[in-house]
Subunit: 432 residues, 2 copies
Amino acid sequence: MSEMDTIIMNTLDITQDKVDYILKRNHAQNKAIEDAVAHILDDVRLNGDAAVLKYTEKFDKVALETLVVSASEIEEGYKSVDGDFIETLTEARDNIENYHRHQISKTWIKDFSPGVRLGQLITPIDRVGLYVPGGKAGYPSTVLMDAVPAKVAGVKSIVLITPPGKDGKVNPYILAAAKIAGVDEIYKVGGAQGVAALAYGTESIKPVNKIVGPGNIYVATAKKQVFGKVDIDMIAGPSEICIIAGSDANPDFIAADLLSQAEHDEMASSMLITWDEKLAHETKKSVYAQMEELSRKDIMKKSIEDNGKIFLVDDIDSAIALSNLIAPEHLEIMVDDPESLLSKITNAGAVFLGSYTPEPIGDYFAGPNHTLPTSGTAKFSSPLGVYDFVKRSSVLHYSKKSLESVKDKVADFAEREGFTSHANAVRRRFND
Amino acid sequence: MSEMDTIIMNTLDITQDKVDYILKRNHAQNKAIEDAVAHILDDVRLNGDAAVLKYTEKFDKVALETLVVSASEIEEGYKSVDGDFIETLTEARDNIENYHRHQISKTWIKDFSPGVRLGQLITPIDRVGLYVPGGKAGYPSTVLMDAVPAKVAGVKSIVLITPPGKDGKVNPYILAAAKIAGVDEIYKVGGAQGVAALAYGTESIKPVNKIVGPGNIYVATAKKQVFGKVDIDMIAGPSEICIIAGSDANPDFIAADLLSQAEHDEMASSMLITWDEKLAHETKKSVYAQMEELSRKDIMKKSIEDNGKIFLVDDIDSAIALSNLIAPEHLEIMVDDPESLLSKITNAGAVFLGSYTPEPIGDYFAGPNHTLPTSGTAKFSSPLGVYDFVKRSSVLHYSKKSLESVKDKVADFAEREGFTSHANAVRRRFND
């Protein structure tokens, strides 16, 4: 195993191909996983709860009698969490709600010309499913980040699924966060079988219109396969952080933030871009030093040495150009007056400005969503938001007179595309 | 072959399962097509232009030397179109632009509390691909509807692909519309190979970040398979119209509008919902009478008899409930004061109000987009719009003091999820 890479990138070296090569970003499909998932989806579609319970026993090692988490189980979970953390969860929920309220769009209709009214309805999606990963820890932050924007959007039924532990129970932090966020239904099911149950419905789970939330490769593949039957959010890859830092930045802060991503998993990517060689050197030293004191050292070391990068560039403009090609999930900017650089940032999931905005403040508390585009998908997708839980409908009204004034153009256009019945629909109204 | 169905639906009969059964909506995958498409995608990814040219010769029956449509070809195509139609295209472009300007969202940043600034950047996607189907007619309306919102969003490179004719040329209407809409690059390529070229890039086509536009089952399957590498719009199914009409509605207008969808293809779905038996009867009579006079009779007859439906319901509320479960691509409402019903419409691609707003006015001219969610996907997706061509980035800034005031809560939250390095990133800033 080699040490964390330092890569010198001259301005002319900064190209998309080079970035993709260095970051080992590729999009090969895994046929074995795709086939395994397709089989599970079919089974659940045809056999409902029986298939779901079978896979739950197989993968989660627990034989459940029901998938439903009862009201009393939720209450019990909530009560088992200490008051301090309930307070923190509630404060986080309020912050998330306050921020996301700014994402609400409103229905509008207006006159565009005499007799012509056009507009756009905005309506909430009726029923959405949230996938919350299981595992020892339980991720109450994911529950808040996924459920609160849905609530703000006005979704009527928010359905949470999460794999049960071997004891058949759901982590109490998840239950507490679900109660605080206003989740309507909770089921003990995960994996591809959980995604299938949400998409197709079973005896105990009514189908949803959209599925969001992070999961492993089986969950991600299942989401992709049910896309079209339901909507999904972007498929999540490994976590990433990219830090642009100038000479005044504190290498210990940078190192701590790089390690906070590295602890997620060995595939996570922690990157520093700087034009200051001394800072690059000191950051690397601090990364190795801090690692020793932290509990997930093995994961972090492998992550940092496999996927951690320090890019030495010519200047701040090159740093921004490189970051825009990376399109990182999290971008921290530690330079003087970082807000003045925002207009140059074209691709990033979330931007953290200054030395006292470490990425974890966004994961848990500040308000903006922590479900962010990874693996360069910030080039075309957005943080999870209220806009993900609504849909739009166009509205059109023409008066008789206003239709008459354009009827020949519209009918002619239709005929040129070969659609004579379209032309007929316009002309017949005027006995043409 | 039987006549157009009339189905009596009592209010209690109106359920999602019943609707899906009657409309034969299912989401089975076609394994043979998926495998064929996956093979083409792999081939283009590995072999670039050579593979694209090979498939173009195989499927489009033309051996091209280059995929690029030159500036002089575009100019020549544009000049070959008569001035009247250029004027109509330009007016349509202006209407589409005027409407879509209302969909622009703006970057914002504001103080949420002392020392805490949060916001959202809105930036255009850098490079998008538009798929425009080929065929004898050429669809300039599709070019305008896909390109204009991208232009309004500020997309830098708008790339159009369309399959060439057997003469190796692109339909002049498409070239004229592309010039009027401000398309930046045009390539002669269609099918799964075209989607692959846009997603992965070849020697002559730089990869794009998002692919939109309608296509056949091969195009739709290819879009689904490249989703993740690039973003895509919703996958389009057969066209649909649903008309809610009361006693005063004109059966000839209704019939004409039903037929305008039916002429698209035999899979298209034309539906009337009414509580007036006489109107149902007269509409059906008019459908068969008008069909005789129109040029696509065979397609329309099969479409109407396979997939056309007249639903007889108890009252207007039942009509709306049924329509909301159908979630039609196009919804026409022909009753008194149709705008007053809008607040009850939960699922529809576009809503056409009153007797003089036939669906074709939306296809060609009014301004709202004609790329709309089909097959019930209006439950979770929206007309193509400016919002499809931008992405958002969260912005966060905390001052030292504001971070200090919440550091313990944030660090505690992180630790409860098992992320000690996240906690370290916060605490280390205060030497905790």
